[in-house]
Symmetry: C2
Subunit: 247 residues, 2 copies
C-alpha cells in the first residue's frame, strides 16, 4: 500500500538501505503478529490480517518468512530473549533482596497496564510450544533460566536475613515463579479480586513465612504428621516422602 512509508519512518539520514528496509519490515510484521495473536490467538489469525495491520501485502510476508510457523518461531525467540534480558537486568542492579523486591513491584506495576494482552500472547506461545515437540525444550529452557535467577535471588534473600532456607531454593524458586504466573492469570480473569501489588505482596509474605519456619521449624503438634524432614537429595525438588498405604 505505502511502499514510501519506510522513508517517513526514518528520521533524516537517507532514504533507507535495503537491508534496513528489510529488517524494518520483518520487525513490523512481528509486531503486528504479536498484537493479533494476543487478540485472536495464533491459529485465529491469518497471514492476511497480519500483513494488513503491518501495512503490507502477502508478498512482503512470504519474502520474509517461510510461513506462519516460522514467524511464530521467530516471535517466540524474540520474546524469550527480551524476557531473559529483563530478568537479568532486574537482578543485576539490585543490591539486596529487598531491593529486588522493590524492582519487581514496579515491574509488575508497569506490566499491569497491558497485563491482559501480554499474558494472552505469552499463553498463546506456550500452547503453541506445547504442541510442537521441537519447541517444548526451548520453553523448558527458558523457564529453567528464569527459575535459576530466582533461586539465586532467594538464596541472597535468606542470606540477608541470615536464616537457612526451609527447603531447597530451587524448589522455592519453582513455587515463587509459578505463583507469578498463576496470580497473573487470576488477575486477568477478575481484576477486582486482586490488586496491582498482589504478586509482590504474596512473595513477601512467603519470604517472611519461610524465614519464620526456618527459625522455628518443629512446632510440636505437627510432629504426628510424617513431617518431611529436609530433603537430602538436593537435585530433586519435592521435599516430602509419604508412607505408602498399599503394601
Amino acid at each position: 500500500m505505502y511502499p514510501t512509508a519506510h522513508q517517513e519512518a526514518i528520521t533524516i539520514t537517507r532514504r533507507l538501505t535495503r537491508q534496513q528496509s528489510r529488517e524494518l519490515t520483518r520487525e513490523q510484521l512481528l509486531q503486528a503478529a504479536a498484537e493479533l495473536f494476543a487478540e485472536h490467538g495464533v491459529s485465529g489469525t491469518s497471514v492476511e490480517q497480519i500483513v494488513e495491520r503491518a501495512g503490507y501485502t502477502r508478498g512482503a510476508f512470504y519474502g520474509n518468512f517461510e510461513g506462519k510457523h516460522e514467524l511464530v518461531l521467530a516471535l517466540l525467540e524474540q520474546r524469550t530473549q527480551r524476557e531473559l534480558e529483563e530478568i537479568q537486568e532486574l537482578s543485576r542492579d539490585a543490591g539486596s533482596f529487598d531491593d529486588l523486591m522493590d524492582h519487581m513491584r514496579s515491574w509488575y506495576r508497569r506490566r499491569d497496564e497491558t497485563l491482559g494482552s501480554w499474558l494472552a500472547l505469552r499463553t498463546e506461545l506456550w500452547l503453541y510450544g506445547l504442541r510442537d515437540p521441537k519447541l517444548l525444550p526451548v520453553l523448558a529452557d527458558r523457564e529453567r533460566r528464569s527459575r535459576a535467577a530466582l533461586a539465586q535471588a532467594l538464596e541472597q534473600g535468606f542470606a540477608d536475613r541470615s536464616v537457612a532456607p526451609p527447603a531447597p531454593v530451587e524448589f522455592l524458586a519453582l513455587v515463587v515463579h509459578s505463583l507469578g504466573d498463576g496470580l497473573s492469570i487470576q488477575r486477568v480473569i477478575s481484576p477486582e479480586d486482586s490488586d496491582i501489588d498482589t504478586v509482590a505482596n504474596a512473595i513477601e509474605l512467603l519470604m517472611r513465612s519461610w524465614s519464620a519456619l526456618a527459625r522455628n521449624p518443629a512446632p510440636a503438634n505437627e510432629a504426628s504428621r510424617p513431617s518431611p524432614g529436609h530433603p537430602t537429595d538436593k537435585s530433586r525438588m519435592p521435599p516430602i516422602e509419604k508412607p505408602e498405604k498399599n503394601p
Copy 2:
C-alpha cells in the same frame, strides 16, 4: 457414517429413544471437540474435524448447535460444572485439613496422567473467555467459587492447628489456588523439573510456613522494613501498604 453405531453403544435395553440418541450425539460431539481443542486449539479446529472424529457429518452438528461458538459455550458450561462438583466432593468428604490434603494429593496424581491435554483445554477455554466480554464474568465466577471453597478449607486448617492465619484467608486462598495453576503449567513444560506431588508438597510447605509465621510474627531484624501489619480491611486482599517515594 455409522448411523447404526448408536445401537451398539447402548448395552441391551432397547434400540434407543430419539431423545437419547440426540443427547448421545451432542455428548459425543462435545467430547470430540474437547479432544481436538486440546490438540489444536479452538480456532485451530474446524467443525468438519469435530464431526469426523465423533463419527458424524456436518448435518448432525448444525442440528445440535448453532455453530462453533455455541459449542464452546456448552463445553465451558460442562467443564465448569464438573470442576465445581469435583471440588465440592473433595471438600465434602474430608473431615480434617490433613484429610483434604490427602485427597488433593491423590486427585493431582490422577490428574497427572493427562495433565497436558487437560491443561491445554482449560487454557484454551480461558483464552476464549478472555476474548468474549460476556464470558469473562462466567470464568471469574468459577474461580471465585473455587477460591471460596479453598478459603474455607484453609480456615479449617488453621483452626486444626489452632493458630490464626497470618493474612486474610481469602488472600491465602488466592495464593494457593494460583499456585496450583502455575505449578501445573511448569510441570507440563518440563516434567523432569518437578514431581507428581509438587503441588501438594508446596501447599503443605506453605501451610507449615504460615503456621510458623502466625506463631512467631515479628523477627526483630525485619522491623526495619515497612512491615504490613495485618490488613484491617478484610474484604480487600493485599496486605501491604508501602510509604510512597515521590512527594
